[in-house]
Structure formats: C-alpha cells, structure tokens
Amino acid sequence: MTDDELMEQELVRCNKCGYCLSTCPTYNVEFSEGQAARGRLVLLQALRDGELALSQENQRPDSGLVQELGEAVSGCLLCGACTEACFSAIHTDELMVRARAGMPGGPPKGVRLLTRHFLLRPERLTAIMRLAGVGRRTGMVRLLRRLSPTLELAEELVEPAPREFLRDRLREIGFHPEGRSGTWVLPRDPRALTVGPRVVYFIGCGTNYQLPEPGAAAMRLLARAGCEVVVCPHVCCGLPPYSYGDLVSARELARRNLELLGGLGADFLVTECGSCGRFLKRYPELLAEEPDLARQAEALGEQVRDFTELLATLPLPEPVNPPAGVVTYHDPCHLGRGQGVTEEPRRLLREAAGAKLVELPEANWCCGGAGTYNLAHPQRSEAILQRKVANIESTGAEIVATACPACLLQLRHGLRMSGSGAVVKHVAEIVAEAQGLRSARVEEGVRGGTTNCET
C-alpha cells in the first residue's frame, strides 16, 4: 500500500465518534479538538478534500496556517492510544507521520542531515557524542544553554552522558570478539539452567549513548538465562527520523540494518528498548513499496523480541536479592500497545526479581516523553507527565520500573521535579540486581577498556 492509499483508506473510516478523546493524552491536557486524534484526522481529510486550502500565500512554511497545522500534526505523541479506543482501529500515529512528511517545506531539514552524516555513520555519531559529553562535563554546554532554552531543558532531561557508551563496555561485560569484523559474543553463563537461543542484541542509540546500564543488565541476564548474545555493527533503527516524517531517512536506515543484521545465524534479534523493538518489527510496513526488501524485513521482523518478551520464556533461578520496597510498572507505549508486551515485564518483576509489584493506575497512559517530544513541546509534555507522576505517587511505590530509555529519562525528570524519592529503573536492571548479577556500572573515574566496536 502506498502512503497515499493508506491515507485514503484510513481517513474514510473515521466516524468522528470521538472515543479517541478518552485516551488521547494531548487532548486530556488541552481539551481542544486540534490536540485529539479525531481533530487531526478531520484536518487531514479537509486538506485532501480541499476544504482546507493552502493558498499560495499561506503555503509558506512560516505562514500562520501552516504553523497551526504543524502544531496539530506534530502535537501527536504517536503513542497509539487512540487506535485502541477506535472502533475502526485507525492508525492515527502512522497518518500523522505521513502528514509530517507532507507538510509544506517537508520534514525538518536537520533530520535529513543528521541521518546522512551521523545516523548512517555511527562512528561519526559516537565521536560527536563523546565531544558532547566532554563539553557538558567541562561546562561548555552550560555556557551554550544560556543561549537556548531548549538546550537548557535538554540538559535537565538528558542526564549527564556516560563516560563510556555501552559499546565501549562489551569486554567488561564479558564479550569477546569473534570472526567477522566488529562482531562480539557473550557466551552462555555456565550456571544457566538451560541452553537458550543464540540472539543478536540490538543496541539502540538511547541505550548506547545515554543509558548503557539497562542494556548491560539485559545482556548479562540473557547470558545468565542461557543465551549466547551477539553484538554486531548496525545503525539507528530509524524511528527518530520516521517520527519527524522523514520517511526517506527512516527507509535508508532500515535498508542498512537489513544488510547488517540479515543472515547472522541467530534465533532472535533482541533489544531492551521498546521503541527500537517495535520499529524493527514494523520494517515490513515501512518497506512495503519494495517487495524484495519487504520480504527480508518480514523475516527479520519475525525474529525481533523485546528483551522481556524473550527472557520471560527462559528459566532463571530464584532471586537472591529482591528489591527493597514496592515496585510499580509503567507500560511504554511502543512496548505495551506497540508490541502487545504487557504481562512479561510484570511477570519478570514478580518472579525473576521477586518484587512486590503494585499496579500503576493508567499504567499504559503515555508519559509524554515520546522520543524528543519533550524537547519539541515542553509545556504539553510536562502537563502529560504530571498526570503520570500523580499516578505513580498514588501507588506509594519506591521503585518505578519501565522498559524503554525514553520513558526512563522522562519519568526520572518528572520524579526529580516533583521531589518524589522514587527511583526509576529498567526492568532489566531490577531483575539483574535481584539475580545477583554484578552491576556493570564501572566505578566513577575508573576507565574501562576501549573496546569500541563501531563500524
């Protein structure tokens, strides 16, 4: 199906019943139709039918109308909650991405440049990220942020970058290089209760550059549960440019990943990032217009598992060090609704970690993080986050578990702001600690090996 056919087929099915208003997080902070799925669909329909005409005068990207339209279209979190409430199950999130692609002036040029110069070339991305980390540590960023409020917010949201990225720490985790260049293998833990599958681990950008801890914990756990874990070169999954409507870049990244990840002789492709996992599973749709690739993508997609999805099928010993304090779990949109994985993380927390789990009210309500949404729409994101924080506080939980780096950052930010003492951790971290797997965290100031394995 072409993007245009998708648009037509989906839009016509909206009966304007308004049930999406009940679950749309942006509507429920602004209470205006422009920030609800129904209103967004009506706008797209009006554009297609010519009822909303972008005249030459107002077609300029800087015109008031285009800006307003952009606000409605870019205001969508892509959380997918509306689809669940919709009798026709309209995929408003996908339509919004198509709409972003079709906005006058197209998707932001910066995204295209970022993809071409950095996302497709991870070694450059790593270099620039190291530089950014140095800049931040030395105070250079502090200087810059005076110039830009977004940067100031970014610094608050994005925690200090780790000195070492996850790919720097593979040797320390127990990986050793193998055969094909840039491939690393973490052998099965000899104590494992079973011989598990061989899995390729997909290291998302957020995991590698921002939150290596959950990735490391997930790798250790998989090995402990009997998996042979392989890390190999790959690029960004493509979700960030996709979210900005840059389908060209997203497809380029997907094609590159199909080349790099195809034919690795593994059973599964695993990640602890709910967003990466979902996007990898959706490559067939993304590449639908290229049948050969779509078939490959289909094969790859079938191998993709969220880390919790796979680990929950493998036997682990009784926890030796269950978390002290009550744990609650926030469903990341792309894992819960996106992949239908809701039971597994909870079961891991209860059983593999031995946690006392209390259910979070509205656990699957978006936290407002949504990739870089919190930077692009800080006020709205903040308002959405407040609802989540209030729900978390109502549980009295001391530990908030989740399973996606973007949610982790957003929730940590929210709980910092509210002054709540609760800590936010990835399910992988909580389970690894409970299983007595040594924290992979290298003591501050101690330099680990330089095992960078970027292509």
């Binding site: 099915r13 009966n15 304007k16 422009g34 009006a46």
Partner: protein, 785 residues
C-alpha cells in the same frame, strides 16, 4: 489572514479574545474545521470557538454574544449522534470541555456536584470507591460529558430499571441567554415552583447552558447476575422480554442483538454466537444477593419456556464480562463491516418490537443496505446500525432514506422518533410528524420564554417552520351562563363537571374569552394541602372546573409498563386496576387513595417512595391537557424513553393547575413488589438507627419520621424483605429501639407531613416562570404560579 479579518469584522470576537486570550478563543480556517462536526452527519463551519474555564467566563461570553447578536452553540465532547453540537452558521462554539472538575461528592446526601465538562465515566470512577454510582450510562460514557448528557437527556442500557438522565439531575446552575447565572432545582429530590429544570434537561442547549450540575447518586448494587440466551426466533426472544417484565422482574439491563448484528459480532470478536440464530438476549439483574438467585432462576425458566437454544449465566465480574463481550464489541464489529456507520435511534412499545425489527430488515432489503439491530429491548429502544461507504454519495442517499423510513415505521407503530440520541439538527424535520401545530407553537413559545432572540443553539430541536401562533379553536357562541350548563354538570358544591375533553376545551375557551377566573380541581385534596384555603373550599370568585367526571382508565399496557388514564381517575381505583395486572404506580401522595391522578401530578408531591421508585416527573411519560384558550395539546408517549422536543409533560408536574387543565396522563408502572411490609420503630436511639439502616447495603424503600417514631417500608422480593426484616431487628436491638409491624396507610400521613419540606425554588428564575405562565395563560384566568 482570515482569522485576522474575522477579529476585525466582529467586535464580539475582539472582546472575547480579550476575555479569553488567543489560546482560548480560536478563529481561522483551522479552528473552523476542528469544530465543524460532532459524531453525526452534518457539518457547518463556526465563526469562532471559545474555551471558557469557569461559569463566570461562560456568562461573560454569552453576555457579549447576546449583546452583539452572535449565536452560540454549546459543546461538550462533541459526541452527539443527532448533530446537537454542529455549529449554526456564524456561531461561536462554546466548548465546555475545560470545565471538567468534580466540585463535590456528598455520599451522605447522595449528591455529586460537577462542572459540565466532566466525563461521565470519570464521575463513575470517582464514585465507585465510595460505593456509589450515577445511573445514566450512555454507550459513549467514556468520553461524553455530563453537560452533553444533560442537554440530550441521555439514556443507556440501564434505563429500564434506573431511568434516564432527567431522573438523576437534581439542580443546575445555568447561564441564561442573556448571560445571567441562575439556579434551577436544588440538591433535594424535589424543588417547588415550575419544573424549569425538567425543560432544560433534554433542551439540547437551546434554553441555556448548565455550568454546574447536581447529580443524584445511588448506592452500588451489592450483587449482579447476567444471563445470555440464544433464540431461533425474534418473536420468542421478545416474548421472553415481556415475560420477564410480567414476572415482576425489572432487570438492570435487557439487551438484544438481531441476526445480522450477531453475525458481525461473531466475525469480529468471536463471542460464541451461533450464526444461524435469530436473536441473542442479554439480561442483567442487580440488587441484594438474596434477590439475585430467585430472579435468575425465573429468567432461566422463562428462556426455556420460550425455547432458548442456549442459556448461560454468570455472577463474577470476569464471567459476566465474557457474556457481555459480544454486546460490548457490537459497535466495533459494525465499524469493521464498512468504513461508515449510522446508528439510528427509535422507540416503540415493547410488544411491537419484533414487528419493528421485521420492518427494519425489510427497509434494509429495499434500500440494499446492511442493517443490524441493537435493542435496549427492555424499554423498546432500538438502534438499527446502517453501514455504508461515506465516499459513495448514491449509497449515502439510500442511507438517509432508510433512516427516514425507520423513523416513520416507528411512529406508525406508536413509537418515538428518538429515544436517547436527541432531535438535534438531524431529526428536526421529523418533529412535524410527531407534533401538531399547537404543540410546536407551544414549544416555540417555551424557547422564546428562555431565549427571546433565538441565539442559544439555533437550528436544533425545533423544525425550521414553527407556527408563531397555532390556530385557536373556535369559542362557542353564547354566554358562559348559557353554554356551561350544556356541556358540564354542576354538582351540589357548584363545581362544573365536564362530560368530555371537548367540554373542558369549550368551558375554558368561554372563560378565557370573558376573562372569567377558573380553578381546576380534581378530588380537591392534594393541591389544597399546600394552599392556605381550607380543604375543598373554592375561592368564591372562581368558576371551579372539577375533572372527577373524567375518571376512566384508557389503556393498560402491562407488557409495556405503562398505563393511560383520565386525569380525574382516583389513585385507589388505578392501583386496584393495576394490581390485577400485577403492577402498581409507586406513588404515595398526600391525598391518599381518594386523590385523582391529575391532582397528584399537578400537586407535584411525590411522597416518601420517590427516592426508591422515582419522582412524579419520572413516573409520567405523556400528558394531554387543555390550555385556557381551549386548545387541547398532547406531549409524550407510552414510552419510557422519548427525547423528542421539550418535556412539557415534566413541566405540567407540579404546575398546580396554573397552566392548563390536565385531561389524560400516561404513567410508568412497575411490577408490584412481591412483598410490602411497613414497620414502625419507636424508642431508643432512632437517629443512629436511621443512619445505620440507610448505610446498609440492602436498603428499605423508605425511611421517614412519623410521630414519635420512624416508619420503614420494606419492599421487594420475599427473600429481600426477609433479609431487611432481620437487619431492622438487629439494628433496633443495637440501638434500643422497638420495631412493630404497622399499617401501610400510615404512609399517607407521612406524605401529607412532607409538604413543608419541599425545597423552595431558588431565586433568579422567576422571570422564566412568569413568561411561561404568560405563554400558557395569557389572560390569566387560572391562578397565579
């Protein structure tokens, strides 16, 4: 830019923007697109959209628009299925979505006060932990707002037992068409004065905008039982429904799906419905645990008797959810059949449901459309679901025709054009089929009384062409003294007793012509309890028209739970007739058995059972009355659900003979409780006794002070009453009180004693009452309000 031009062109918008700021006053092409729709078909671009956040802002927005002559369209979540929130040309849409705070929940008084933008389900969720619920539960409850529910008098699957929205609204704060804030009703079950609130509920925002709503709360039922039965014939399924009602069971829900709908559901959610069956029936009963088992057993027996080929029952939340799965998935299943869906909404008397479904099927065949029928079978409300492709204009035309034919079919079967979706903009043209010019003119007059300039939600509820003044009946020739004795019988007290309706009409027309004051009277009991005059004594200067001569029972439709009687029928006679059918009209008025139905309704005193069975205005569904001009009008139907037009039948309740002479009334009846027991409790700590009894899960039908003691009514299933008796005995011994069986007649004394406790009407709305009085009785021949 267009937005700028509009702001410059319309001083009102400039003012509104100053008031609300640019983020809460939306103008321009995008805002127009975003508020041109609701969940119905039509669309119209508004001039602007205002998003006020409090009542004061609403009042100021309305004030500005009223001054500048800009029409206003109130909007909640925009889920109206009748186009109630579609903008009229050049209007400002007033979105109340931001006014979404629950202001107060008072479990003791069983009242919640909310802003109009509160979502129905959010209120339910807030109430549940406290053990209460708000009964109206339209299918859209997860998104529709209480303001919108109020405007449309929304129903839901639980209406049969619990009634519609109007039964559960106690009071509102309303912004009037001129931007003033007035209160209607109160927090009490009943408020004195004209029942203006009864008009505003279901008024579709054409009379004013509610900014604060006092909702009645009910204790959550202690236990639930759900049954699902599959039938090979629609007739047998419908007969089962009638059989359940006839057996004295009032289920909380009685839902039915026809074959095409079952097939769609099965394809979508696999609810386990056989594809070749004709109908599936879902019955839910709720109440004290002791009452569930016998009712479920009776339901199973009836299903078997009517050859149900499958019967399943469930009691736990999870198991019940399985049985409900198909019904809950019906809407999605229908949406899955084709891109577009139209949910129509008609009501017919329960006994003709199969005939109605047959006609719908026939209409579907004729118009070559897929139509599945969803029925709230208990109250005769059905929603034929028509699926189509919105891009196919030819098919769309057939959908429209089918909708029209369905409405006409319902009307020809004695039903209503809309049961719960409202008239809105989409069914206005049917109003002429339902109402005559007199009724339409009166409704147009009501609209003018509230909104003289026609700025509140114009283009809704009333048809385009409403006669300014209907043709008045000819006044008989001759003087009053000549004609009156010919058409009435004068009794020994000098009261005029009309032979028939025509006599009432002529009598009033004559008096009206001559400006001769008249007083309408029934048995001369009920009303006078509230008037300063001694019982039965007529004011000397008024001609007294006594309706006791119009005392016949006209139609007792037991299966439909309705009865139509003449106004002069005495309550005792009515109850006797109903009892033979195993039913009653659950009202204990101050006047007792001698009081006439007309007098009881005009008096507006519901009596002690109102909290359990509903107030008078909830127990009347239709009325025929004569205006002082002699014109005879009728409003309402023998249908529990009917939201076509203004609820004049509710206005007449409590109007105390000041607006017209009641001739005929259609009442909602209920199955007689299996057992009724009155207990009088004396001595000990009665206050503690009362509080604890009312907090008890299984509640008595009424608890009222009587003399030195408390009178308690225990009513319901045998097992239920037994359980209550035990509770009463236990609580009495704990509080040192003494319970004794008592005569049921004592309740009439209690009812008479309640009159002082009727909440007085809040000040501020007198002008509306004055205008209504003027509209009904321009020459003032009837007593003042």
């Amino acid at each position: 830019m267009k937005a700028q031009r509009e702001i410059i062109q319309f001083p009102a918008l400039r003012e509104l923007r100053e008031l609300l700021g640019p983020r809460r006053l939306l103008t321009g092409p995008l805002a127009e697109q975003l508020y041109k729709y609701d969940a119905a078909f039509e669309m119209e671009l508004p001039l602007a959209v205002a998003l006020p956040e409090n009542a004061e802002e609403v009042a100021r927005v309305v004030g500005v628009c009223a001054r500048e002559g800009v029409p206003l369209v109130p909007r909640g979540a925009g889920t109206s299925l009748s186009g109630g929130a579609i903008p009229s040309p050049g209007s400002v849409v007033l979105s109340l979505a931001r006014m979404n705070r629950i202001l107060e929940i008072d479990p003791g008084a069983q009242v919640a006060v909310v802003q109009p933008g509160v979502v129905n389900l959010n209120l339910q969720n807030a109430l549940e932990p406290q053990g209460y619920f708000y009964a109206p539960d339209p299918a859209s409850q997860l998104v529709s707002t209480l303001g919108g529910n109020l405007g449309h008098n929304a129903g839901g699957p639980h209406c049969l037992k619990y009634g519609v929205t109007s039964h559960h609204i106690l009071g509102v704060e309303m912004v009037t068409a001129t931007g003033e804030r007035v209160r209607l009703g109160s927090r009490a079950l009943e408020t004195g004065g004209y029942n203006l609130l009864g008009l505003v509920v279901g008024g579709e925002g054409t009379l004013g905008i509610a900014t604060e709503i006092a909702c009645r709360l009910l204790p959550l039922p202690e236990a639930l039982g759900t049954a699902l039965a599959v039938f090979d014939s629609l007739e047998e399924a419908s007969e089962t429904v009638s059989g359940i009602i006839a057996a004295g069971i009032v289920p909380a829900a009685l839902e039915m799906l026809d074959q095409p709908l079952m097939a769609a559901v099965e394809q979508h959610v696999q609810a386990g419905y056989p594809l070749d069956a004709a109908a599936v029936l879902l019955v839910e009963v709720d109440g004290p645990p002791a009452a569930i088992t016998p009712q479920m057993a009776a339901i199973e027996g009836l299903c078997n008797e009517h050859h149900a080929r499958d019967f399943r029952s469930a009691y736990s939340r999870e198991e019940r959810a399985v049985l409900w799965r198909g019904r809950k998935g019906a809407a999605a299943a229908v949406a899955n059949l084709a891109p577009g869906k139209l949910s129509t909404d008609v009501v017919v008397p329960r006994e003709v449901l199969p005939e109605m479904v047959r006609q719908v099927t026939e209409i579907g065949r004729r118009q070559e459309l897929i139509i599945g029928v969803l029925l709230h079978a208990g109250d005769g409300n059905l929603h034929p679901q028509i699926v189509f492709n919105p891009r196919d204009t030819e098919q769309l035309a057939r959908v429209r025709r089918a909708q029209e034919e369905i409405v006409r079919a319902a009307l020809s079967l004695g039903g209503a054009m809309t049961g719960e979706h409202g008239v809105g903009s989409e069914k206005r043209h049917f109003m002429n089929l339902v109402f005559g010019p007199g009724e339409l003119a009166l409704m147009a007059g009501i609209k003018r009384a509230f909104d003289p300039r026609g700025l509140m939600n114009p283009g809704k509820l009333l048809p385009d062409e409403t006669p300014e003044e209907a043709e008045r009946p000819a006044v008989p020739e001759g003087t009053f003294e000549q004609v009156a004795p010919e058409i009435t019988v004068r009794d020994e007290q000098g009261r005029w007793r009309p032979r028939d309706y025509e006599a009432v009409s002529k009598f009033l027309a004559l008096a009206n012509r001559d400006g001769r004051p008249v007083r309408i009277m029934g048995a001369g009991i009920g009303l006078d309890l509230r008037s300063p005059l001694p019982t039965g004594q007529a004011e000397p200067e008024r001609e007294v028209l006594c309706t006791l001569s119009l005392g016949r029972l006209l139609h007792l439709e037991a299966a439909n739970l309705t009865v139509t009687v003449q106004a002069g029928m005495r309550l005792g006679e009515l109850q006797q007739a109903l009892a033979e059918a195993g039913q009653w009209w659950p009202v204990i008025p101050p006047g007792g058995a001698e009081a006439t139905i007309g007098g009881i309704l005009a008096g507006g005193m519901s009596g002690p059972l109102a909290a359990r069975y509903g107030r008078l205005q909830d127990l009347v569904t239709g009325v025929k009355f004569a205006l002082p001009s002699g014109e005879v009008l009728r409003f309402g139907l023998p249908c529990v659900k009917n939201v076509a037009g203004y609820a004049v039948e509710r206005l007449m309740v409590g109007s105390r003979g000041t607006l017209g002479a009641l001739l005929e009334l259609t009442l909602r009846t209920l199955p007689l409780p299996e057992r009724r027991q009155t207990v009088r409790v004396t001595g000990g700590d009665l206050e503690t006794f009362r509080v604890r009894l009312q907090a008890n899960g299984t509640r008595p039908a009424a608890v009222e002070p009587q003399g030195e003691g408390l009178l308690v009514a225990l009513q319901g299933m045998e097992s239920e009453v037994e359980a209550l008796e035990e509770t009463v005995a236990a609580l009495a011994s704990e509080t040192g009180a003494e319970p004794q069986p008592a005569e049921e007649e004592l309740w009439t004394l209690v009812a008479a004693g309640r009159r002082e406790r009727l909440a007085p009407p809040p000040p501020g709305a007198e002008e509306f009452s004055r205008r209504l009085k003027e509209l009904f009785d321009p020459r003032g021949i009837l007593p003042g309000p």
